[in-house]
Amino acid sequence: MSRFTTNTMGLATIAAVVVLSAGCLNEQAYQGTEDFPRHTNNLLPDPIEGEAQIGAGLVTGEGLEQPIAFPHYTHVTDLGMQCEYCHQAARKSIHAGVPQTSTCMNCHKYVKTDSPEIQKVKASYDSGNPISWKKVHDLPDYVHFAHKRHVQAGVDCTECHGLMGLQGQPTTWTETVKEYNEAGEVTHVENVAKEGIRWPVVRETTMQMGWCLDCHGGHPSIDENYGDQADLRRAELKDCWTCHK
């Protein structure tokens, strides 16, 4: 796949090349910042739906370890908090918005202040360093998704994100731990039993284009919102430029 070997040679070198070898074309001078990304060729079978996933960061049903083991379950199911209390921008911006640390501290100045996880939140608040969450619902950069259009149209958060309120419950799992030698060979494999919150957030849907189009063709909100223009809207929603531009 890799077309050229050098990287990070950009416009910076154009001037030099023009001066040194005007007319003598040096293709490498116009190289971009990186090789063609290999992950875009990825076609992994989906363990749940059996559908191919192109360029997926995560397989459906997976999550990532996060800096703080945040339990949605406690906040949503136990305490009944609304999504938009934390994800404030969902109705007014393309991003739903991960809450600012001060939102957490509204309550956690007083609640569970002795928990080691809350200590991490407090550390962020005190130091001014943001918490670096890992992106689980990550669309490729060539997809322009707007939360506000979906939320305002009446699409429920759970339709795409699944039952977030059940996520982040303590669980047990087995993790395969590998040891390597200096040559990078596996010397030891061990299955370790673990307990706690494994993945605070799990991606429950494929978030592939075909999955998007399932609704873009026929979500009930289209008829509700567009009335006699619903057919037109359905056509509009399948326009490539709706998401890719």
């Binding site: 001037a15 190289q31 076609l43 559908e51 960061g57 918005g97 991960v98 640390t101 223009q229």
Partner: protein
């Protein structure tokens, strides 16, 4: 298999190849996974910020006389674009220069932190060194040399430095000095071009960044046939046609240096004709037309006709550019008075700040040479590069005790500094500007400082305090929180000395002292910062003469040789201040198409005499030495003149400026006009062939002069246009006289207008109107497109290969009219979003298609790079990514997150800024109304090009909505579409340019009168009409063609 559709097939394919990927690498091979990205939320989010939505800051990116009210578009922590501040009375004013300032802001060549002798140093050490030098100055002086950045900074600099020079090398000092000599005011004139019927320029590039920011808009208003039913006529007396001069209707190519005598002769003639006062006549002196004719090489009739035009209309005379002189400016002022210009058209309400010219610089040089300067601060002024004999000035600078550069951009002058204390730029700093009388613009930070820089104001305040500069000055408390709002004394505390806590407070107290007229200051300040301007009605009055006599004297020519060298500001890089902005380098010169370098414009006769042609190198010997440059043959200069643009040939101004072209300023010796101001007045040179090729690169793909009758650049009779304007015509396009095979006649006889029906557009068909009469070729649209749509810069070598990526190019057609006058037509050409697009049919992967909104969509993900579409496009507006182009950091921060960055192997083209279209629609839906059609007036300025156009030549809109401006344009008598006979049914309507030299078409049906003859019959025969009464029948067809026109009909 019959049920297997395309997507199922791809799925099956995917699973198969997925299996092979698995067996090869395994599931846990992270190379096959998208890299995990992070989300960094705010710790405490500012109230006005919503992640993912833009915030707009009203500010002023340009400085001094050029300052313009703009909105900085802030997105997720950085400024990504600059748009028009429509609240301000002088909008729109987004010239390309505002965007160059943005690119300067993100330049990878900026100094990122304080430096001493080339090594990083802490701010504390740097400031201490400066403070120590200032406090130890003794009997010596502290000097400041910089560009003018508003009255508040002028006040602070004035308190800090003993000698302050606000240098402006564009020749404005001549204007101000002439105003003082004649009228006793030190201000630049304000030209109310919008009221003019005739403009006579002596070379001022007023459509290329000269004067205040809205002068081009005022010219466009005068040019608009729908305003007052008149079209301004533009006469140019100059030895060269630059971009501004390209717009001239009558070009009188005078000998360099003879503008003064021509101006005086016309003034004397007009004064006699209009019966001007004896006082004015006496000041002008007695100069006959014969005298002017013999000095200028023009015919007496040409000069008399210009004078007659001047006397017959409400006219304005404009002075010269960088080769003009104080006397020429004075002559044009007197000409305006003689012509009886009204106060609105001509008064001294222009820029009244400091535009120090050579006299001040000379005084500074003398002080430097005498060893009187202890500390020299250099900020945003580059005399070592831009001053003839700059090297001498550089030698003088080195005699200062301590040279400190406070400019974060590299320059030849800054390179001489031993200490660099980089300052925040216009997007990071506070400030106040006053570009014209009665108009104050506030500048506010639109993002936090990109690098380790500090505001110049903060540096001066800190050093002033530390060095005790203001010890003697009384220091009233700066405006602070303790002030009780309400019934305050109008005599508010005046900022003085260095007592202000910081530069922001200083600006605030300056505003309080100078602009605030009582009431609640907090509210006033808040409103001022939100609006970005304070305007007060400035009384305009006809200037009163104070001079009893004025001694005119021609500037003496320097050097010797058979040719004159005419130096002029480059239309993009100006005097060189924007040379390190790659947009300014890659945007083709509007007249020649030259990119990335210098060229010498010569006439055909000169080229023949020298035995050279395009791109042959010549050696030009000037009084200051000799230089080698490539030749561009163009009828833009008379036979005895060669022209060179300033602004190139830098040696230490950054990676995009250095070593491209030659520095014209260094090739002149410093000439002074009779009043002591520097001028690039007449320079005699000798030119000889170097016997080899140069390395010119022109981006004009056509390279030709004319459009060869293909109706790309079309002109109509100005009188007819002024009479009818753009009123709906029964025969749209009739004024142009173009006979188009709008629909194939044989098909229409059978009742079939076209084999394929036009696409259905239920609510929207987006379209654009391009008024070539308003377009001045400035290129702001093109630069705005680069900024909005993440277009890469490809560099000189790639442009030479035809791989430039600009989505809008401005075609320049050079037509010769029946009268023998050259008419230059600028025609912006972008994707025409055809109803029947050639590109759509040939794409094998459906990557380009016609959207339901009438947009010709281009989907990068689908594109397989066959380039068939580019081949099929009759307008050649598609651009292919032959490489993955890079944005050297921090240019990448300017990228628009709403537009994807394309990679190698992908086709791209104008999208009508689909991301902005969708944002507008989305904003309407935010209000809860999902089905409303967005009204047309909302669309008019939506695409970046239309927003940026200083003369509003571009209007966007919905072709389905009757009554929208774009629909009205399709009904105009001067509408046309290039290559309309191809039946592409494009969504872009062009409006023809006014021309004072051609005749109107002989009859209304749209036959070839515009080309001189009624050769309609020949056309009819070509169209296949066999009947004897073909003339009449074809005539009817033509009428019907107009009525059937797809855009006029609505769908």
């Amino acid at each position: 298999m019959t049920n297997l559709n395309r997507r199922d097939f791809l799925k099956a394919l995917g699973i198969t190849s997925g299996a092979s990927a698995l067996s090869a690498c395994g599931l846990d091979d992270n190379r096959y996974r998208t890299p995990v990205e992070s989300i960094l939320p705010y710790v405490v989010k500012p109230d006005q910020v919503t992640p993912g939505t833009p915030t707009f800051f009203a500010t002023s990116a340009l400085q001094g006389p050029h300052a313009a009210p703009v909105l900085a578009r802030h997105r997720d922590g950085r400024v990504i674009n600059v748009g028009a501040n429509k609240r301000a009375p002088t909008a729109p004013a987004v010239q390309a220069f505002n965007l160059y300032e943005l690119q300067k802001h993100f330049s990878p060549d900026r100094v990122t932190g304080p430096m001493k002798a080339g090594a990083p140093v802490s701010w504390e050490d740097g400031l201490n060194e400066l403070s120590a030098a200032v406090s130890a100055k003794g009997a010596k002086k502290v000097a400041y040399l910089g560009g003018y950045k508003g009255p508040a900074l002028e006040q602070l600099v004035g308190e800090f430095a003993d000698i302050a020079v606000f240098w402006e090398p564009t020749g404005y000092d001549a204007l101000v000095d002439a105003a003082e000599a004649l009228f006793g005011v030190r201000a630049m004139p304000h030209y109310g071009l919008h009221k003019a019927g005739y403009v006579l320029s002596f070379g001022a590039p007023f459509l290329s960044g000269w004067g205040d920011s809205s002068i081009a808009a005022r010219y466009a208003e005068a040019r608009d046939p729908n305003v007052g039913h008149s079209v301004v006529r533009f006469g140019l007396v100059a030895p060269h046609r630059d971009q501004t001069g390209g717009n001239a209707d009558d070009w009188m190519a005078c000998a360099p240096g003879s503008e003064l005598v021509v101006a005086r002769a016309i003034a004397a003639w007009v004064a006699n004709k209009k019966g001007a006062s004896a006082e004015i006549k006496a000041l002008i002196g007695n100069v006959s037309l014969d005298e002017a004719a013999s000095a200028s090489g023009l015919s007496k009739e040409a000069i008399e006709s210009a004078a007659a035009n001047f006397a017959a209309h409400d006219s304005i005379a404009l002075p010269g550019g960088v080769s003009g002189s104080t006397d020429l400016a004075a002559a044009t002022y007197l000409l305006n008075l003689a012509g009886g210009a009204s106060a609105e058209m001509f008064h001294f309400g222009g820029f009244s700040g400091r535009v120090d010219g050579y006299a001040k610089l000379e005084a500074l040089k003398a002080a430097l040479d005498a060893g009187e300067i202890a500390v020299l601060l250099v900020d945003d002024a580059n005399p070592v590069y831009a001053l003839p004999g700059g090297a001498d000035f550089g030698a003088s600078i080195s005699k200062a005790g301590l040279v400190v550069s406070v400019d974060s951009a590299p320059s030849e002058t800054a390179a001489l500094a031993s200490l660099v204390l980089p300052t925040s730029d216009v997007f990071e700093d506070w400030g106040v500007e006053q570009p014209v009388a009665g108009m104050y613009l506030t500048r506010q930070p639109a993002q936090s400082a990109l690098h380790d820089t500090r505001s110049l104001g903060d540096i001066l305040l800190a050093v002033g305090k530390a060095a005790g500069v203001a010890a003697a000055a009384p220091a009233p408390a700066a405006e602070g929180e303790e002030a009780v709002e309400g019934e305050e004394a109008v005599a508010a505390p005046v900022a003085a000395g260095f007592s202000a806590a910081n530069w922001q407070e200083y600006v605030k107290s300056w505003v309080r002292a100078n602009l605030f007229s009582g009431g609640d200051f907090s509210a006033f300040w808040e409103k001022t910062v939100i609006d970005g301007f304070v305007s007060a009605a400035a009384a305009a009055s006809v200037p009163g003469l104070v001079a009893g006599a004025y001694a005119f004297a021609a500037t003496e020519a320097q050097g010797s040789g058979e040719y004159f060298l005419h130096l002029h500001n480059h239309s993009q890089r100006l005097d060189g201040r924007y040379a390190n902005q790659p947009w300014a380098q890659e945007l083709p010169d509007p007249m020649t198409g030259e990119v990335w370098g210098s060229w010498l414009e010569v006439s055909k006769a000169t080229a023949d005499a020298l035995g050279v042609g395009y791109n042959d190198a010549v050696i030009v010997t000037t009084p200051a030495g000799e230089f080698e440059v490539g030749v561009h043959v163009l009828p833009s200069v008379p036979d005895n003149v060669v022209a060179l643009a300033l602004g190139n040939g830098h040696t230490a101004a950054g990676r995009y400026a250095n070593e491209y072209g030659v520095n014209g300023a260094a090739m002149a010796t410093l000439a002074k006009d009779s009043k002591g101001n520097a001028t690039y007045g007449p320079i005699k040179v000798s030119v000889k062939s170097a016997g080899k090729k140069a390395d010119l690169v022109t981006a004009f793909s056509t390279f030709g002069m004319s459009d060869e009758g293909r109706s790309f650049g079309v002109a109509v009779n100005a009188g007819q246009l002024a009479e009818h304007g753009d009123a709906a015509s029964d025969h749209p396009g009739e004024m142009t006289g173009i006979h188009h095979l709008q629909l194939d006649a044989r098909l229409r006889e059978k009742g079939i207008s076209d084999f394929y029906g036009l696409p259905d557009h239920p609510n929207y068909r987006f379209g654009l109107t391009v008024d070539t009469n308003a377009c001045t070729g400035c290129g702001a649209c093109s630069v705005a497109c680069y900024a909005e749509n993440n277009l890469p810069i490809v560099g000189k070598v790639k442009v030479a290969e035809g791989r430039e990526m600009g989505w809008i190019r401005i075609n320049r057609y050079w037509e010769t009219d029946q009268g023998g006058q050259d008419d230059i037509r600028f025609v912006p050409m972008m994707c025409q979003h055809c109803g029947h697009a050639g590109c759509e049919n040939v794409c094998p992967v459906l990557a380009t298609y016609h959207s339901i909104d009438g947009l010709n969509a281009m989907v990068y993900n689908r594109c397989a790079g066959t380039r068939y579409c580019s081949n099929a496009c009759p307008y050649t507006v598609r651009r292919f990514n032959y490489h993955s182009y890079a944005w050297p950091e921090p240019f990448n921060l300017q990228l628009n997150p709403d537009v994807v960055v394309r990679t190698m192997g992908v086709m791209e083209k104008c999208t009508f800024c689909v991301q902005r279209i969708r944002q507008v629609k989305s904003a309407y839906k935010d209000g809860g109304n999902f089905t409303a059609t967005v009204p047309s007036e909302v669309w008019e300025q939506v695409p970046a090009c239309a927003e940026a156009c200083p003369s509003q030549a571009l209007t966007f809109g919905n072709l389905v909505e009757e009554g929208s401006k774009v629909v009205a344009a399709t009904k105009s008598g001067r509408r046309y579409q290039p290559l309309e006979e191809l039946n592409a049914f494009s969504a872009v309507t062009y409006l023809a340019k006014a021309n004072f030299h051609i005749e109107p078409p002989s009859h209304g049906g749209g036959h070839g009168a515009g080309h001189g003859e009624d050769h309609g019959d020949a056309h009819h025969d070509e169209a296949g009409h066999g009947s004897d009464d073909h003339g009449e029948a074809a005539h009817d067809d033509n009428h019907k063609g107009g009525e059937d026109h797809p855009e006029a009909g609505g769908h």
